[in-house]
Point group: C2
Chain length 366, copies 2
């Protein structure tokens, strides 16, 4: 009883000693492998019980090479999108007997690189990454090289031969734009937090493939079909970082040819945009129509209820984790690229505009 601090953990050796058998036998009885007589087994188990033996997972992982742990790297856990996806991942991993280590990148590339390295150094059995856009992805290559499976969530990295899970965006975005067009909106503003080197959006800006480019592509198709020019000048990148969302909203509603509809790229942006509109006294859908990506419980409870594009977020998490677990299980087949169907939920935040646009006088502040 010489020490109450840092009381050592009991090890197989301790159990073996109490049970009067060799360490090897104790390990066999405890681990349930090899040949052990009933006599010895029960003695060992009893000893383990009295000593409150719990195996050291670190030691075990070290020579099995598997940690029964997967790593998840996301941009921002506080974002409902990620926390719900996380839940899907979590539930699936748990069912498969895997633990989860979570790392948050704050959408920062160097943090993501560190995160991936940390997970690799901790010898996770695999990882799910929602990569920061346009990352050179050498760090992800390192994972692939290490032989550990990776599944990319929400964003593809074309050069990387790994499984990906995304929500189908091109088609719903087409439908969403189609809907806006049908209601008479040709001047629709799009606000996204995506940011590429502080550049503004232009038609030939190469953003790679990510949810945002997919959406814009889908919307463009609808505009093209309708014979209307996609209002490129109303597509605003870098929301929340380079520009305040409130300012972006104001800007879209001011000027000679303002937006008659605003599309928010995710719920965080939607919330701030909505707050700004309310502050400025701009009514939805009378003064401006509103549409957001991501379906959250509150969207349908607003006045008016918000028209949204719902992605199967939880299911994306489940699918990603499922794929990962299959890979960990030894599946060596070709990389799979899953796109889960999204759908447009029509509510009341998009108004019908009477033909040739009549600019509304907005009460936008500042």
């Amino acid at each position: 009883m010489e020490s109450s601090s840092t009381s050592r953990y009991t090890t197989v050796a301790d159990v073996a000693q109490l049970a009067q058998v060799s360490k090897a036998q104790a390990a066999r009885a405890l681990g349930g492998y090899g040949a052990v007589s009933d006599e010895v087994r029960s003695r060992v188990l009893a000893a383990a019980e009295t000593l409150q033996y719990h195996p050291n997972e670190l030691a075990r992982s070290m020579n099995t090479g598997r940690s029964k742990t997967i790593g998840v790297v996301v941009g921002d856990i506080e974002n409902p999108y990620f926390s719900l996806a996380m839940r899907g991942i979590y539930d699936t991993c748990k069912a498969g007997g895997f633990d989860v280590i979570l790392i948050n990148t704050g959408e920062d590339l160097s943090t993501e690189i560190d995160a991936v390295n940390v997970l690799l150094d901790k010898r996770v059995d695999g990882m799910i990454v929602a990569p920061v856009t346009r990352s050179p992805s050498t760090h992800l290559k390192r994972v692939v090289d290490s032989g550990r499976p990776v599944v990319l969530l929400d964003r593809k990295v074309p050069s990387l031969p790994v499984d990906t899970v995304v929500a189908e965006m091109r088609q719903v975005s087409y439908e969403a734009a189609r809907h806006l067009l049908d209601e008479g909106h040709t001047r629709v503003g799009y606000i996204s937090s995506l940011d590429v080197g502080g550049l503004d959006f232009t038609v030939d800006l190469d953003l790679g493939s990510n949810p945002v480019t997919e959406r814009i592509a889908g919307m463009r198709r609808a505009f093209d079909e309708g014979g209307v020019a996609l209002p490129v000048d109303l597509i605003r990148l870098g929301a929340g970082k380079r520009h305040s969302i409130g300012d972006l909203v104001d800007a879209l509603l001011t000027g000679p040819d303002p937006a008659t509809a605003i599309v928010a790229s995710d719920s965080v942006i939607a919330l701030e945009a909505l707050a700004e509109l309310q502050r400025a006294g701009v009514r939805i859908p009378d003064d401006v129509s509103f549409l957001m990506f991501d379906e959250l419980p509150w969207a349908g409870l607003m006045t008016p209820p918000i028209t949204v594009v719902a992605q199967p977020v939880y299911d994306q998490g489940v699918a990603a984790a499922g794929m990962l677990l299959r890979r960990i299980g030894g599946d060596r087949s070709e990389p799979e690229h899953l796109a889960l169907p999204s759908r447009l939920i029509l509510r009341e935040s998009v108004a019908t505009i009477d033909s040739p646009v009549d600019p509304v006088t907005t009460g936008a502040s500042t």
Copy 2:
């Protein structure tokens, strides 16, 4: 090149060999301890670089006894409360150089027990637990005995001598009830997901100390001071599990002496209650007043804006992690019990009722 699968990781031994020094010297150069000549150091570092050496954290943890990882056990990550607190925990741990393992219990005791054991077996340096209510807490005792620090979040376990971080609830709840009373509400319903053995709420039901009992205690004081009986019959437990939230809301608005105000114990309940009210055509605050715990961005954007009790959730996470890190750092002082101040944010969801209650004819369905 006999194997492209499971390409072995480079170890100190590999680096040592390439640098033409002993394993011990390589380890010293890499780890930055002991005496190493500049000559050797640069050679080792160069070798490590070319071989892309990354230390195996498992091995390192095994004989240092510290994993630079903390475990977090929460009820439901999808709940904004936890995901925001998680963010606070995360940011703080990261700043301190610690990684985070997340485990979700789904508010289930046996899962919590498993979770705690898993974390202990993984040799986390400490853990933050938001314990399931009324747990016997022998599992938490095991952690304490192991010498690893624990910090309890959101709920206290009186028998456990560990640090706790909660939001101050008694005082704000007093203020909230006071406000309701001032506006003429004596029949206020309270809906909580807390559930203790499927029992209904009674005055002498011992629930221990948790946010919910604190709130009820605070509200009782206000009612007592006002000389009004706390409407115990309108306090509903087990929301979302034992009872559907919609049914609970309907029940509160039906009967001979219905509630004139509804208090939702958290944002998840609030959302479902609000949906039910909308479905039933009950207007806020004309037909019933509404007040919720937890401030979320959408609360102020609803029509009408919802009056809420805001807790410093992110700060709770930060505080909990801060305490834990201090303990890990060796702080052996007395357990600290921190209660962060909450505040009532008055908006427009509570209406004034004209003196002696005149039961409103509600449009509650079914």
